[in-house]
């Protein structure tokens, strides 16, 4: 424990210089501006900044990326409050109550609540990040091919189930992502798969161009397909954060922090799940249910705390297991690999200091958003006045640079175009991109783990189901998929209903 504290102290001291502070603040500011602009996601922001910071030292580059990640999600709440459009998907839960408060002439108060919720939520997540990442990494050291196979499959299945409202489409996108990851030379024998003799495909589809395509170019198309410009609500009152309200709603803040971190731990689920689950939990337990959706402070605080707490939550499995918790953390993981840091169980052995560096970076990001929340709210809102017909061509220019810069090959620009166009049409048909991205990231791991596991067991699939951790993952994965079968779902509801009735009968005054 003391060794961990010493590492953390070193990490903090390492960032106490002008360059790091400027990079941290710059990253957070860029993130807030991107978050403010509807349609531009945290994934796109981190992907573009990854290419921009490719020549910087590792710690400076990752600091900028983490600060921009936190900044984007924080910035998105302003658009939700003032325009009733979530700046990022994670801010959708803030729209209802945040915008309702704005319409009542309390836009500044709503932004203040969002700032205090975001600060407290991220801080809570940072504490969990520092406490649980080393522990999880220690546990993951005992993982073998069988466990990693299930972990990858579990991630894609969970992502497909939770993201969006149609699990079949989610799983299909996950399968598509896993398949796209198989294109190119495979990891064991360097055999070309699905390249059709085209050399450019031998290297596979790179992650950054795929992400820039599915989250950047697809968004440019989506935004320009809907030319309607939204109107801003006027900001009249003070935007200073209300920490008195944090104290008043401490139960909501704590509950949402825990929910945010827990949803963050689930692979590929995304920050919006943290926000929505926290919002639902607050609605279920509040005394002012009638205010929800009409300007409830409790609801806004829950949504903002939940989504921000899930950021450090997403970074935990990313560092400890090498399994990203969300699409933005997938880019963050790719950036770490580009800079020579391989996330995963071996990180505690190869780069023990790095985990604590990330903790220090995330806390710097938290402080940065508070600073901008205090001093730069109104000037930053000017970016919301930029017309989308002006902004989107510039964003596409950045997408081209972002796709190209990683490997300096034109093929990556073309794959960004193709994937982006495909993503645009698929999104219009109700397919979500997050399971696709997770499949793309985990495809290589799933392939290697399956084949290595089968070699170790000499073709038997029994170890995939009989090892203790595998049993846990397999049970949850299969259970989640079976829940979609109506007969099984009805049976589960019958059983849980019966158990619930028994518990209800035991409660005082209910019997």
């Amino acid at each position: 424990m003391f060794e961990g504290l010493s590492h953390l102290g070193h990490a903090w001291l390492g960032f106490m210089n002008v360059t790091s502070i400027v990079f941290g603040l710059g990253g957070a500011l860029t993130g807030i501006i991107v978050g403010c602009l509807p349609g531009l996601s945290a994934t796109l922001c981190i992907a573009l900044l990854t290419t921009m910071t490719i020549k910087l030292p590792t710690n400076d580059a990752i600091l900028i990326l983490i600060c921009s990640y936190v900044g984007t999600l924080y910035g998105g709440s302003r658009t939700a409050i003032l325009l009733n459009i979530p700046g990022t998907a994670a801010n959708a839960a803030s729209c209802a109550d945040g915008h309702a408060l704005a319409l009542q002439g309390q836009a500044g108060r709503a932004i203040g609540i969002a700032t205090s919720g975001a600060f407290t939520g991220t801080l809570f997540g940072v504490i969990c990040l520092a406490a649980f990442t080393p522990v999880l990494a220690e546990v993951a050291l005992s993982f073998g091919a069988y466990e990693f196979f299930w972990l990858a499959l579990f991630g894609v299945a969970m992502s497909g189930t939770i993201v969006g409202d149609d699990p079949i489409k989610g799983w299909l996108m996950g399968a598509l992502g896993l398949f796209v990851a198989q294109v190119g030379q495979e990891g064991l024998y360097a055999h070309d798969r699905f390249t059709f003799g085209w050399d450019q495909l031998s290297g596979g589809i790179a992650l950054i161009p795929a992400l820039v395509g599915s989250f950047g170019f697809a968004e440019v198309l989506t935004t320009l397909a809907d030319p309607v410009e939204r109107k801003l609500v006027e900001l009249r009152d003070s935007v200073l954060p209300r920490f008195r309200e944090v104290a008043q709603y401490w139960r909501t803040v704590f509950r949402s922090g825990v929910i945010g971190v827990l949803t963050g731990l689930m692979p590929g689920v995304g920050e919006d799940a943290g926000a929505w689950m926290s919002y639902a939990a607050a609605k279920a337990t509040t005394k002012e249910k009638e205010k929800f959706g009409k300007g409830s402070i409790d609801g806004l605080m829950a949504a903002e705390t939940g989504d921000m707490a899930s950021i450090p939550g997403h970074i935990i499995p990313c560092l400890a297991l090498g399994i990203p918790g969300s699409a933005p953390s997938a880019v963050l993981m790719a950036a770490m690999i580009i800079h020579g840091v391989q996330p995963g169980p071996m990180m505690m052995i190869t780069h023990p200091q790095f985990i604590y560096d990330v903790v220090a970076m995330t806390s710097m990001a938290t402080i940065s958003i508070l600073i901008f929340g205090l001093f730069l709210v109104k000037p930053l809102l000017l970016v919301l006045r930029i017309k989308r017909t002006v902004l989107m061509p510039i964003i596409f220019l950045l997408c081209t640079v972002g796709a190209f810069a990683g490997a300096s090959r034109l093929f990556d620009i073309y794959s960004m175009l193709v994937i982006g166009t495909g993503a645009f049409f698929l999104r219009r048909r109700g397919y979500q991109m997050a399971p696709f991205v997770l499949g793309l990231v985990l495809g290589g791991l799933l392939d290697k783990s399956l084949r290595r596991g089968l070699v170790l067991s000499d073709g038997s699939i029994a170890p995939f189901f009989t090892r203790p951790i595998c049993m846990g993952f397999a049970t949850v994965t299969i259970f989640v998929i079976l829940l979609y079968v109506p007969a099984f779902k009805a049976l589960v509801q019958k059983v849980t209903g019966a158990i619930g009735a028994q518990f209800k009968a035991l409660l005082p005054g209910k019997g």
Binding site: I168, F179, L224, T389, L397, F404
Partner: protein, 188 residues
């Protein structure tokens, strides 16, 4: 800044039944597409080289996971097809008129053409990035705002063209300066 009217935040009213039918129809087509893709992947995986001449372990053949993924896509595509068929996907849904659909399609095709021209023709073939970028941004803004100008009954003035060209030039130069000169990133 002005207050939005209540209608600003409300989605266009589409009859619930028509919307359902349209989704079912789209899913039906999607189901067929996924089944075709799954079948193609499965066939390609079965026919993939098993590297027998290298005497590899038969459980590590390269086509193993892709083949399994092909089967998964086939099954899920079939489920999607059956579900949308049961929801009335065989009957074409009403909704947007042909004219509305054509306006939306035309706009998307225009954006695709603009972006495709920039990324495939202008970039990476010797033209400096800032020139290509400035040209693209200027042309794209003028083209995209054309419909809005027509709707508002405005004409394209020289001042408007010059302002747009200035925005394009600024964007091209700024991106080149920041990426190439400050962060030392190679541009296409």
């Amino acid at each position: 800044m002005t207050q939005p009217s209540p209608t600003d935040t409300q989605p266009t009213a589409v009859p619930q039944g028509d919307e359902h039918r349209r989704v079912a129809r789209s899913d039906l087509e999607g189901g067929v597409g996924w089944m075709a893709l799954g079948a193609a992947i499965l066939i390609a995986s079965v026919r993939m080289d098993r590297l027998e001449e290298q005497h590899i372990n038969p459980y590590t053949i390269p086509g193993l996971l892709p083949g399994l993924l092909g089967i998964v896509m086939l099954m899920l595509g079939f489920l999607l097809f059956v579900r949308s068929w049961r929801r009335g996907g065989l009957h074409p849904g009403a909704g947007e008129s042909m004219q509305e659909r054509w306006v939306a399609t035309k706009r998307i095709l225009m954006v695709l053409a603009l972006c495709g021209t920039f990324a495939v023709i202008l970039v990476g073939h010797g033209l400096p990035f800032w020139v290509a970028g400035a040209t693209f941004v200027t042309v794209a803004i003028l083209t995209l705002q054309h419909a809005q100008r027509v709707a508002a009954g405005q004409k394209l003035t020289l001042r408007k063209v010059l302002t747009t060209a200035l925005i394009g030039l600024g964007a091209g130069l700024m991106i080149t300066l920041v990426f190439q000169e400050i962060f030392l990133v190679r541009l296409p």
